[in-house]
Point group: D3
């Protein structure tokens, strides 16, 4: 039985048992979507958002497209991980260095690191393009922006929750801005100090056919297990109606995470429900955060729905690892 390493207890983890008769490894919360435009001030949409346990509840960083349709980050808090109180104001960086750029921000991830800080990675609008933004908070009151890890163009980045081989480590998706969000792969990079980055390694590429044949990008912070790093990721397929974003998983080597041990040949979650198939961008499920209860191995996955709202899905560490190993490419 797969075991979470360096995990935490989350007794108040949002949870709902798998429905009778369901044979899927990941299942949806029956009251999805859990967060909609009505839950935030002057919001066109709330989606692709990140949460972590904090104190006796949860904190989160949310992507809000406001009425000007400029994507921005806002913070929120919750007791149960389901009902969220979202700030009316956009997240501001304390004493930030204007040279780094922060014209807009979207698709945040939040990572509780072994160094005690909560890091935020997001897609950051800088002069002339977009790249991964990096910042941190210790209290969800004050936020500090760090140097951008990479040059443009990069769209999805997520830090590992601990140093690997003595270095900070990040997965990201350097991407092609010219073709409507075209092809891209997942890469690994490391840093001694979160200021300078290098040792870039390609981790995995899109497949030639199927649900992940267009591009793939890292999702929530990797989960450390005794089988390796469990990475929940999104895969994109081109159809003649555009793109379809689905969810899969991979298990990466614990010490050399650019080496893929297993990777799902089949999706774990695909847009099926109306709130996933209709909205600002149709047919999208986009995982950005997961909560893992180390005691039970239960996982609650927060995912964006059709670039419009936030959905919740469930699985367990054991189930998802078993499925990934048994259905590996």
């Amino acid at each position: 039985m797969a075991k979470v390493i360096n995990g935490v207890s989350i007794p108040n983890l949002p949870w709902e048992d798998k429905p009778q008769g369901c044979t899927d490894t990941v299942w949806r919360y029956s009251k999805n979507p859990i967060i909609t435009r009505n839950d935030a001030f002057e919001a066109n949409s709330v989606f692709n958002s990140a949460v972590v346990p904090f104190g006796d509840g949860f904190r989160g960083v949310f992507r809000i497209d406001s009425y000007d349709m400029l994507p921005m980050l806002r913070t929120g808090k919750s007791r149960d991980g389901i009902k969220w109180e979202i700030s009316d104001d956009n997240l501001e960086w304390t004493d930030r260095n204007p040279d780094i750029g922060y014209e807009y921000g979207y698709d945040p991830r939040v990572i509780k690191h072994e160094d005690g800080k909560y890091y935020i990675c997001w897609c950051n609008g800088v002069p002339g393009g977009h790249t991964i933004g990096l910042g941190y908070t210790e209290d969800f009151e004050k936020f500090y922006q760090l140097e951008s890890p990479f040059l443009v163009y990069n769209r999805n980045g997520v830090l590992f929750p601990r140093k690997i081989n003595g270095k900070y480590a990040m997965l990201s998706l350097p991407t092609n801005p010219g073709s409507g969000g075209g092809l891209g792969s997942i890469w690994y990079s490391e840093s001694p100090d979160l200021e300078y980055w290098g040792h870039h390694r390609d981790v995995m590429h899109p497949t030639s056919l199927g649900w992940q044949n267009n591009k793939i990008g890292p999702g929530p912070a990797p989960i450390e297990t005794d089988e390796g790093w469990l990475l929940i990721y999104h895969g994109v397929m081109g159809s003649c109606a555009g793109l379809v974003y689905s969810m899969g998983a991979a298990i990466l080597d614990i010490d050399e995470p650019w080496k893929v041990k297993y990777r799902t040949k089949k999706f774990l979650l695909k847009p099926w429900e109306p709130y996933e198939c209709m909205g600002d961008v149709h047919t999208v499920v986009f995982p950005c955060a997961s909560l893992v209860d180390a005691d039970t191995g239960r996982i609650a996955i927060y995912y964006g729905c059709a670039d419009t709202s936030v959905g919740l899905a469930f699985t367990t560490v054991d189930d998802i690892i078993k499925y990934t190993k048994e259905n590996s490419l």
Copy 2:
């Protein structure tokens, strides 16, 4: 009168006086192209190549497209900088780390650094894309590959010839692989150790109209002068027959080279001659190297012609700086 800083004497610099009646700042060598496919073994083309003074002559790293049309690097040597003896074999990296990738290589720059090494920057084919490759030699016999500074996709990189603010510094062109070599800007990055890179800053963008309206990329190693860093660069214009690559110049702040002091509104060299207008890629002049004689301020610029051969052009530090300041955007 503009002065070269940290320059060297190159008494045997290739040179030809400006033709009678010519009012242009940069002028072509009358015997262009100086290097063609006939000067290398089984070469379809020799172009976009880099040279430096070495011993009592010159050494170079050349882009050769062989008969399989895979771009590769080869070394060469010359007494006069005009006639070149090019190696029959592709450049090999000693004890290289295969994880870094080196599937093919093109458009090299060679920089003699204050640390005594000769660095090579080139566009490096890695699994899943292309990015800047970085390596060095001390003797042009043994070559050592370093970590790639950046993630994919990046096409033109050039190191500054000395540390800036105690850091190695590089200009590069993160670029869009999806649209036939589409839009891109020049960025600045720095590194404490040539292993990890950060502090990325955008330097300059394409203009909305004219010869540099599509993308721009750094050319030869920046030349240190008392007016700032003199950067010779290429600018690309989209025409209804494709792309036109021309040459311009900029003067960057000496301490904060991501700040542009002057930048040519007009091109310095544009494809006019048949060997620049006809070949594997028509209408291309692409500067990759320059030799500067500190005593006279004479500059010999090596540039690729139509992705087919190597041309030579001349100017002086004083002339080009004067022109850049007087015709600045």
Copy 3:
């Protein structure tokens, strides 16, 4: 408090008060959509349609895509502006000049002009392209086609309800037929006689980011107020799933309407409801007509929903002008 100029009383204006708790400036009718394919004979869809007060009721010109999916115009009448009786036959022009062209027609606007006529502007299919069609009626029985104001390619045109500086005036969207309905701006043109047009001026362009970053087009006939011409318009955003059409407003100078005094940075209405997000063209709200009651300042806006049906939304002159001024670009 903003005042309507040259307005009319419409005591039977369709109306519904703003819902409790709604803080938006424009709100939807609770029984939307008000006109669907079932309300017209052999209609695939009824949308992007125009209405005016007439007699003690209302008349309209409707876009109907029939079962051959060729867009055509039909007329309709209504007592209350909500239930419409739509003609089974396409609108025919009396004694029309075949040289002008009328292969198909869509997206009509109807303008009651100070000269007493009801003008129809629409996108007119002519040999070799599409441009603004112009015609008029006095009784909604007989319709007369005039010369096309502009060359191809032009997609949205709307006449001002009175002469400006002694000239007829029109806003339009000269557009790019080659890229799926790509980029376009709003232009102003004038005519001494509705036969010859000139003095073309650009009014406003798409923004670089946000809900109106792709193209913008004029909506209903501009409403004259003491603050200037109130123009309700549509803005289009490119997403990776295609285009999203939203509604905004601008206030144009009363005498020089090509000068923009205010323009909404935020949208006033964006596709949120299933009938706006699903249909022949998803994620479209497209305002084509408005009724304004001069007594109360109430505005009823008719807008196309997903190229499939007609929706109704409400606001007041005072609210929309206040919002536009306070949220101006």
Copy 4:
């Protein structure tokens, strides 16, 4: 009154009378969709599927996109043509020749031929592209693959149910793989032996405007009538939100089926219902099979809905032929 030739009695044909007030020639089953992902094992979707009478019930070949999103064929059986029991395993070809290729399969048609066999035509994934696959069964237990009739690239093929002029005959849609499923026409080909094919003739092309202006493809097996071959086909329209797939009909000459006698100017069925407008590929109705009861002339049409599920629609031979003749292009 139009008469079916060489037809069979299907007393248990699925049927529902035309709804009160409906004036359309083809109407939907009120309990659509009849087959969804829940009706098959580990299926993302079940659509574009083919059925025939067999024994005292029905058999079918179904397109299933499994969790890897690779389209595959599976068989199924039904007593009433509405409730289907679908095999858990993909259809396998007995002793198949691996040189022919069968990497994936989709959009099957099944034709009961006068030679007694049940032929399956589908879009077959072969090395380097896709083309029409051809196979047969006699008992829906063992299936045998034949040579591919055509070179790549071909997407929709359907055999005529009897020889014409002593030759097997097939309609197909040679198509353009490079532009998201772009333009294509219906062609006729014949074969003496189902092994070698020739005498290719173009049958009909997309129109310049309307619901079939992008490409057209054959649907279910042509129905022999005393008016000619009744061909139900799909037509595709490009909109600014992508493609819209509708259904039309044509009557082909009985002896020279590449000659079109009549062809619907108007669609017979277009995506209107949510299950046709939302799903993996929005706005698609795609007819793949029809059951015709020779006694009553009733036709039950099976069509794919939004690349997600299977719908059922009804008409009669007489109605559809009358409509086609009266609304011919």
Copy 5:
């Protein structure tokens, strides 16, 4: 024998007899190109330029792409029509109205009108696009800009040399800016006052195949003859290496010039010579001006070569009309 109407004597018309053995209707000047970059100050290229008889010599308006590659207009004069003295400065408009726009200009035509003025039509850069610019001079000293006749986007316009039916008349090419200079047709428009334009009529469209299958545009001012208006125009063909611009001719009805009497099925001149096949835009011959000697019927045609230089070609009114009639589409 075809006769020029309203023509002038040009005894010093540039001329060279048809070469021995040449059977073509239009032949090149043996000393082409007659104007190159060396003939103008700081010019990258001189091409697509217009000339008229003036005094005892000739005057012209030239397209010059300067070293910034922004296309601009300059004037020039010549005694013999072959050697040209080109102004060092760009053409300036006296007291021009800045609202009309003049950001850049290219591809001028000059028309001596019966009203005594010399009109210039060119492609004019205005805020948000390009359209036909219109201006005049009486002395080639002072130039006055008029209102732009049309909305964006329009690339080639040419005025008729006299009023038709009491109205000024213009041919133009409303065009598609979004697809690299894509499809376009020739249209006719008229104006009572050169201020307001209307009565737009399509004149001719590209053909489906051959040298004019992509777009067509009017060339020099139409020549009045007793057979109708002789229009020399350019036709564009798409090849897999881009566009090929050739020259053809049409004869338009004298009173209703939107009616085409004859139009060449074959080109009259196509890029064959190196100076037409190589340059900033390869494979371009682009006629912009013609001189016609009414006494002899000789025509000297000035055409742009590869967007780089100006070439001269010859024919006679009689020959070209005969050829056009005998080789009409």
Copy 6:
């Protein structure tokens, strides 16, 4: 030493020895191009043409783009294979079946078959597309068109010179008409009777990098040798200036020619000369015919140059086979 099988003696084969110092396997004729537009009546270009020995001289079928730029076939004869007398009229098919289509024709191959006939394969314009045309002659006086072997879209076809396994055999390039002549592979098909075709097998695909990374197509008729079928083919590379067409070779299994034994990793001939790099389509060498002298093994290859003229190149059977084996992919 490689031996030609079923070859013929061609004592008057055009020939020129390899130039001193040339190390290439294929070398150009020093008087290239041998056929230009001046060699045919009213021809814009003569290229991509096919020749065979006939009587004591040679006969050929030529692609001529006439002044309408519609590609057509014409015949020609020659005593020495270098000077050609080309018919003034287009090739006409005797008693041809209009249902098969022949709107235009290009890129012919001529194959002397063991059945005694001379077959012509070409790219044939049919209603709705292009495909391989097939015809034959016995005397180069009368020509008979056969059924088209394949459906649209197919661009290059060549028959084997004898039956294989008792069947006629053809190589072709089914291709993608939608993307400027995009990706395509070589396929094998066979026929019992030249009327019906089947048993399609993919032979080889483009490579991922290099001179043949875009599409590949068969060239002259395969040459039977004791090492297998020697196939000279063209490979196309995408560059940022468009496509580059080069020449390579493959050796196919003698009995199962869809199996590739060897295939050149390096090109044999690439556009280098001005007549290959400049013309209607730049950077094209396109082999369409070869003459092989069985006595000496000498091969004369006829190839199209820049879609403009015909060039001649030489090699020997032994050299080309040796090179292909030693430089195989």
